[in-house]
């Protein structure tokens, strides 16, 4: 038995050496480098997964108004604060500069590529950026692409991106309405909106679903701290001075639930965080 194992091991070594002579290092096993992380800026997520993996694809999946863009802006703000060069490939040209500015994104460090609803252009532009190298964070924003179009995206693009990203310090974030990166994504975050928080709103619908939409009425002046504290749920009730200013449009923010689908489910319950509208 031992002899047979030894013989097999020797034969394997011989075959590998022969292949190495013929094909070079193509068949050699590569050592996995330790994963570098780019923080997202959302404390709840960073506490669990540290952030976005560099040299890999991270997919953020969610429906409209689920909080995907809030998470993206937070990551962009952190990356630009670390003086990294970022690129945003905007398939549907929906990147809002004012919200990016309020999220403290340094726009001078963001290369914005507007693709005017051309999906193929977006992928080609992303490919050019990844091949160019040197970017800390590259974002492919497919948030407004129809689900049926997202499903039709051929896998070879994702494999190409994954290959281009290998052993580079670039983190690629893809925002999609449905999960479409599949096995090429190292991490998939599913984002859902739990509740919307209003400063002062009037329920118009006759049947309002309080379980999903929490409406707070208040007639007190908007600049009191007590009022702010009554609006934000969970552990984030300690309003900072700048957050006391009400948003002109009276919409305060949303509470977001994030579930990690890949590579493994969260241990325990999904992560929750709140996104807030700043003036």
């Amino acid at each position: 038995m031992l002899n047979a194992m030894m013989t097999a091991a020797l034969a394997k070594t011989e075959i590998e050496s022969a292949l190495a002579q013929r094909f070079g290092a193509a068949f050699q096993r590569r050592e996995k480098r330790p994963i570098e992380i780019l923080p997202t800026g959302v404390n709840e997520i960073d506490a669990l997964v540290s952030g976005l993996p560099r040299g890999a694809i991270t997919e953020i999946v969610g429906a409209v108004s689920s909080g995907r863009t809030s998470l993206l802006l937070s990551a962009l703000a952190v990356a630009t604060r670390q003086e990294e060069t970022c690129a945003l490939v905007d398939c549907n040209d929906t990147f809002d500069l004012w919200s990016a500015k309020t999220a403290q994104v340094d726009l001078d460090r963001v290369l914005w590529v507007r693709c005017n609803n051309r999906l193929e252009r977006a992928f080609k532009a992303t490919d050019l950026l990844l091949q160019s190298g040197g970017f800390g964070l590259v974002v492919l924003n497919l948030a407004d692409v129809a689900a049926k179009c997202a499903r039709r995206i051929i896998s070879s693009w994702w494999f190409r991106f994954r290959r281009a990203l290998e052993n580079t310090p670039t983190a690629l974030v893809v925002i999609t309405p449905i999960a479409c990166v599949r096995s090429c994504a190292r991490m998939v975050l599913e984002v859902n909106k739990e509740t919307a928080v209003w400063l002062e709103a009037i329920p118009v619908a006759l049947k309002s679903d309080d379980a999903r939409l929490r409406i707070k009425r208040s007639r007190e002046p908007a600049t009191t701290q007590a009022r702010h504290l009554s609006l934000v749920t969970g552990s984030n009730q300690n309003g900072s001075p700048e957050s006391l200013l009400p948003h002109s449009r009276l919409f305060r923010g949303i509470c977001v639930r994030v579930n990690q689908e890949r590579p493994a489910a969260w241990i325990g319950s999904p992560v929750k965080f709140s996104a807030q509208v700043y003036l």
């Binding site: 959302v42 409209v64 108004s65 863009t69 998470l71 802006l73 952190v78 604060r81 003086e83 990294e84 060069t85 040209d93 929906t94 990147f95 809002d96 004012w98 500015k101 999220a103 403290q104 726009l107 460090r109 963001v110 290369l111 914005w112 693709c115 005017n116 609803n117 252009r121 080609k124 532009a125 050019l128 091949q131 190298g133 040197g134 948030a143 407004d144 129809a146 919307a196 209003w198 400063l199 709103a201 009037i202 329920p203 118009v204 619908a205 309002s208 679903d209 999903r212 939409l213 300690n238 900072s240 700048e242 957050s243 002109s248 449009r249 009276l250 919409f251 709140s274 996104a275 807030q276």
Partner: protein, 470 residues
């Protein structure tokens, strides 16, 4: 050995003749001194093999200098220039001989004084000894009082006496008269022109063929820049077309570069985006010379793309999506919604000592807001919407973008507003609107409510969806 070419009657012919003389000198040697507009000196050492006398002629080998002088005279005659040529072991002797004797003069080594001794002292060029005009006049007057009339008279004076009476300037002047002065040539540096041009024998209409021509010109251009330790931050391309028109392109580079491959790709991408309308018959590329980029790299400088590769990537992206769709966004100083402009993306290099400073980053991170800012996605252009109002509040919305994949259609379950904004009332494109933040629940799908911002344009009384919170 040095050869001096003196152009006769040159002041009348102007600067063109001086250039002609320089060009003539450079056909013999790269070591050329332009002593005056009518005088150039060439270092002809090492040209024995080129101008040596043929063995069959029986001429002594040392007469190669005469051959050079003859050749210079012959070429000058072809250029319609009358010159005196002299060859000597000392450049100053050659200069004096060329200015004083017509035709060709060859002065053997050691016989300088014998050849020049009879020249009047007024032929002595004081500037060759580094003496200014005022001092020269003073010395000339003194020598005249002493009865010194010729080079040989001056050369025969004792050096101690000259030094005592005329100082160091007098000593230098005496050595000049003796033909024993020692100096190096002040080499003429041709003006550096960083441009390359080529006229084509046949018109070229294909880009692939043109790329070879560009590559050749750019290689020469970059080699020229490299030899002067310079780079360029702007490339200008001039094409002469078959239909007698001209085609110009300028490529501004973010940082000084001198890589011919990068330049070639940039030019080709640029031409592909705006091709010339006719075949090309002449090409000229000009580079603006600047000092090369100086960047101190360090371990803690954050990641950034290489400028050369980034420039290529930007050019390719501009070709892919249009130049107006690539760049760095800049918010305009106005309250008008979604007012911005695109600027050229440039890498931000901050001071190295600040970059990567962990304590500073920690401080920055500390200043970040505890809650993430709410994201918004803006529709460009805004979606026209059909809005049913109830008690002056939006109650039902139906909107769809021209090129959008989804619709915002459903009942408004929650609304907040209106928030009236207006501006630019002094302009034709003034804006005034009432904004609402609404939550729309779709009746058909199971997805959660869509939080969007709608507004009613007060000019047209129409409703629009500006974007969605996300």
């Amino acid at each position: 050995m040095f050869a001096c070419i003196y152009g006769r009657a040159f002041p009348e012919r102007g600067r063109d003749a001086a250039t002609l003389l320089i060009d003539l000198a450079f056909t013999f040697s790269p070591l050329v001194e332009q002593t005056g507009t009518d005088t150039v000196v060439i270092d002809v050492d090492g040209q024995e093999l080129l101008f040596g006398a043929p063995v069959s002629s029986g001429m002594p080998e040392s007469d190669w200098a005469l051959n050079i002088a003859n050749e210079i005279t012959r070429r000058a005659t072809l250029s319609d220039v009358k010159v005196n040529v002299s060859i000597a072991a000392n450049p100053d002797v050659a200069i004096h001989a060329a200015r004083s004797f017509k035709g060709i003069t060859v002065i053997p080594v050691g016989e300088e004084l014998r050849e020049l001794g009879g020249l009047p002292l007024k032929m002595l060029d004081y500037s060759l000894a580094g003496i200014d005009q005022e001092k020269a006049e003073e010395i000339r007057e003194t020598l005249g009082l002493w009865g010194i009339r010729t080079f040989s008279d001056f050369a025969k004076l004792s050096i101690a006496g000259v030094a005592q009476r005329l100082g160091q300037e007098g000593v230098r002047l005496q050595k000049l008269a003796q033909g024993k002065s020692e100096r190096h040539l002040h080499l003429f540096q041709p003006p550096v022109g960083f441009e390359q041009a080529l006229e084509l024998e046949h018109p070229v209409a294909e880009l692939e063929s043109l790329s070879f021509i560009f590559a050749r010109l750019l290689n020469q251009l970059c080699a020229n820049l490299n030899s002067h330790a310079l780079a360029t931050n702007e490339l200008r391309l001039y094409l002469k077309l078959e239909d007698k028109t001209k085609y110009k392109r300028a490529i501004a580079l973010p940082v000084p570069m001198r890589d011919p491959k990068t330049f070639l790709r940039l030019l080709l991408i640029d031409i592909e985006s705006k091709p010339p309308q006719a075949a090309i018959i002449a090409v000229m590329i000009r580079a603006e010379p600047v000092k090369p980029r100086e960047l101190q790299t360090g371990l803690f400088i954050p990641l950034a793309p290489e400028p050369e590769r980034l420039e290529l990537t930007l050019a390719r992206l501009a070709k892919l999506v249009g130049a107006e769709n690539v760049g760095s966004p800049e918010l305009l100083n106005t309250h008008r919604p979604d007012a911005f402009r695109m600027t050229k993306f440039r890498l931000n290099y901050r001071s190295g000592k600040n970059a990567g400073n962990t304590s500073r980053l920690a401080l920055s991170a500390g200043r970040m807001r505890e809650l993430p800012a709410m994201g918004f996605r803006v529709f460009r252009p805004p979606w026209p919407a059909e809005v049913q109002s109830m008690q002056q509040r939006p109650a039902r919305i139906n909107a769809r973008g021209a090129s959008s994949s989804y619709v915002i259609c459903g009942q408004v379950v929650c609304a907040s507003g209106p928030w009236r904004t207006s501006g630019d009332w002094w302009r034709a494109d003034l804006w005034a609107r009432d904004e609402w933040d609404v939550a729309v629940r779709s009746s058909s799908s199971e997805q959660s409510d869509v939080l969007c911002r709608v507004y009613r344009d007060l000019q047209s009384e129409e409703w629009f969806v500006e974007g969605v919170y996300d």
